[in-house]
């Protein structure tokens, strides 16, 4: 009898353990409830330069809305992800002409800008982009803009590479870093090979662009998933040439890297105007305004400029930067001239999106 008692204890251990684990699992959601009553999680599908960790923490503390970012590179990937995942994401960042595509496909929805007090801090022209207007509503909240150009390290690159053809030089084998955005890389290749409309290329133009890419490939060190990887590559000198946004020279200097200079290719280039949008099937649409309102306040935008170098659309932040002594830097990077953004070839979906992606993949293998 006593032995059975002993044995029972161990069998009971199993039962207890199993019950405990099962109970914890089922109670898991309950576990989270006290926290989630005060804090909702806003999932963002975005780029790494749209936020900072301390910014998210501060916003969470102030509003109880905790941002949870998932990163992506190419708008095409984000578009597909939103299409496939329903209500998983609340905020999605998008470039230029992708925004209307999202709306047209019923993936995001426009809103009244005046519902966002922080929108008053924007440059007025940012609130009136024709391609983002939807009746009296606006499709997205404007964030930042930049051209995509060539940055080079003069220590190793003796002649200024002011054309896309110049960077094909065999001297630069394995020394170029650029972002892994197939659609836009193809557009650049289109520019390099003379296509008038880089985002609406014909098959022949796509072929030519692909050929240019093939020649570029041996020179590519790495296809970076976010632009700060390009900055790092330039900073530690593993790359001599970077194809990336405005302000990279400052960022490389901040990362204790060498002096790099900008070169604007004479064939022309592309640029982006990016934004934050409401995902239509999000479950937190009611607090989207509150969240973005806190996220986009001028002090954070000013900090974002210092970290990421390219201009943004928040005018109040520009004034803050001037007060902080960064006025010269801001003006050098065209922060006070948002009208220039409209002169760029703005990023958007390609006419034949699949053909662009295929061409890119067929060159780079993956």
């Amino acid at each position: 009898m006593s032995v059975t008692e002993g044995r029972l204890t161990r069998a009971d251990l199993l039962k207890l353990g199993g019950a405990g684990a099962l109970g914890l699992t089922l109670a898991g959601p309950a576990f989270g409830r006290p926290i989630s009553q005060e804090a909702t999680t806003m999932t963002m599908l975005t780029w790494s330069d749209h936020y900072a960790n301390n910014q998210l923490a501060a916003v969470a503390k102030a509003t109880g809305l905790r941002g949870r970012p998932t990163l992506f590179s190419d708008n095409a990937d984000a578009y597909l992800k939103i299409k496939q995942t329903g209500s998983q994401f609340d905020v999605v960042s998008a470039d230029g002409l992708w925004v209307p595509k999202y709306v047209k496909s019923g993936l995001t929805e426009p809103f009244d800008l005046s519902d966002l007090p922080v929108s008053k801090q924007l440059f007025s022209l940012a609130r009136q982009f024709s391609f983002w207007k939807s009746g009296s509503n606006y499709m997205a909240y404007p964030f930042s803009w930049s051209t995509v150009q060539i940055y080079y390290n003069p220590k190793y690159v003796k002649t200024k590479p002011d054309s896309w053809q110049a960077i094909l030089d065999k001297k630069y084998a394995g020394k170029i870093s650029l972002e892994n955005i197939p659609t836009d890389v193809m557009a650049i290749a289109g520019r390099a090979t003379g296509a008038k409309k880089p985002y609406a290329m014909t098959s022949a133009q796509i072929s030519r662009a692909k050929q240019w890419l093939k020649e570029l490939k041996p020179n590519v060190l790495k296809l970076a998933s976010q632009n700060n990887e390009v900055v790092r590559a330039l900073a530690d000198e593993s790359a001599w040439i970077g194809i990336t946004n405005l302000g990279t020279d400052d960022r490389v200097k901040d990362a204790r890297g060498p002096v790099v200079k900008a070169a604007y290719p004479k064939e022309g280039t592309i640029g982006f105007i990016d934004s934050e949008s409401i995902v239509k099937r999000s479950k937190h649409k009611d607090v989207w305004m509150k969240y973005i309102n806190a996220l986009e306040q001028a002090p954070w935008i000013a900090k974002n400029f210092i970290t990421n170098g390219r201009p943004l659309f928040n005018e109040k932040a520009y004034k803050l930067l001037v007060n902080q002594g960064h006025g010269a830097r801001a003006r050098r990077l065209l922060y006070n001239k948002p009208e220039l953004a409209l002169k760029m070839t703005i990023k958007g979906p390609a006419g034949n999106q699949q053909a662009y992606i295929d061409a890119f993949n067929e060159v780079f293998g993956a």
Partner: protein, 308 residues
Amino acid sequence: MVEQQVATPPHALPPADVSAGRRGSRLSGLTQYAGFIPALLLYGLFFLAPFGLIVAYSFWQTIDYEVVHKWTVDNYRYFFSVPTYVRTMWATLWVSFAATAITLLMAFPLAYWLVRYVRKSLQGFFLVLVVVPFWTSYLLRVYAWLNILGEGGAINRFLQWTGVTEHPVSFFLYDRPAVILVLVYLYFPFAALTLYASLQKFDWNQYKAALDLGAPPRMALLRIVLPQMKAGMVTAVIFVFIPILGEYLTPQLVGGAKGVMIGNLVVNFFSGAQYTRGAAVSLLIAGLIVFLLLIVRKSLEVEDPYRA
């Protein structure tokens, strides 16, 4: 009655034989397989079914990001028609082969050292020491190498500090050698453990006998020890080569533009919603794996440890 039970001498009890047990120490008929039911459910639904789906998808089409159930071999034809993809496939095989060879070459002396020169009581300790790094997150182990490789990283700083090089050398990062290096690091414990287990079983008296008969140690090693290690080496090769075929994270983090492997292509297709193409490439990989396993299954046939 009591006498009857007590009088049964111990040696008359049937030998320890579970599978042929009487008196219901095993269940009879189909109920003995009852334990398999949860596993069958889990793997039927979530392992076999997805696999079947992959097979089907690889023969269907994607039109406008939607999968259409029209049969075609176009996905395969497309894959083989792109020279870059085919080159990536060969590159993957080459990298797997190189990494496996290097891993085994490195692991064998270690296993030999353990069996031959280390006290039996300490062997377990040193073995665990080999495995310990392996029991940390795979991602972390790759990330650890990112710290070391790279122009700003340890190797380059060291080389520059000692004056061996002036500029950072990018050989150590973002190319195939870096991928192979990290893969060797990741799969080394697999090989070491398997080779150790195999060497352990070897009867060293044969080696001694060969030496007694006048053979030099190296010849004894080559002609006596190695042939009997064949099974162990094949197992080690399988455990290293096959997972490397499907590698994607290591090439992505340390491979750069030149270190692309076929796993990256699969991920690319699936992220781009080209499910049918991704399925075709996945099936190619899986097919290769099954093919390899079939070839070596004779060597893998160890005596069934679960048979009584």
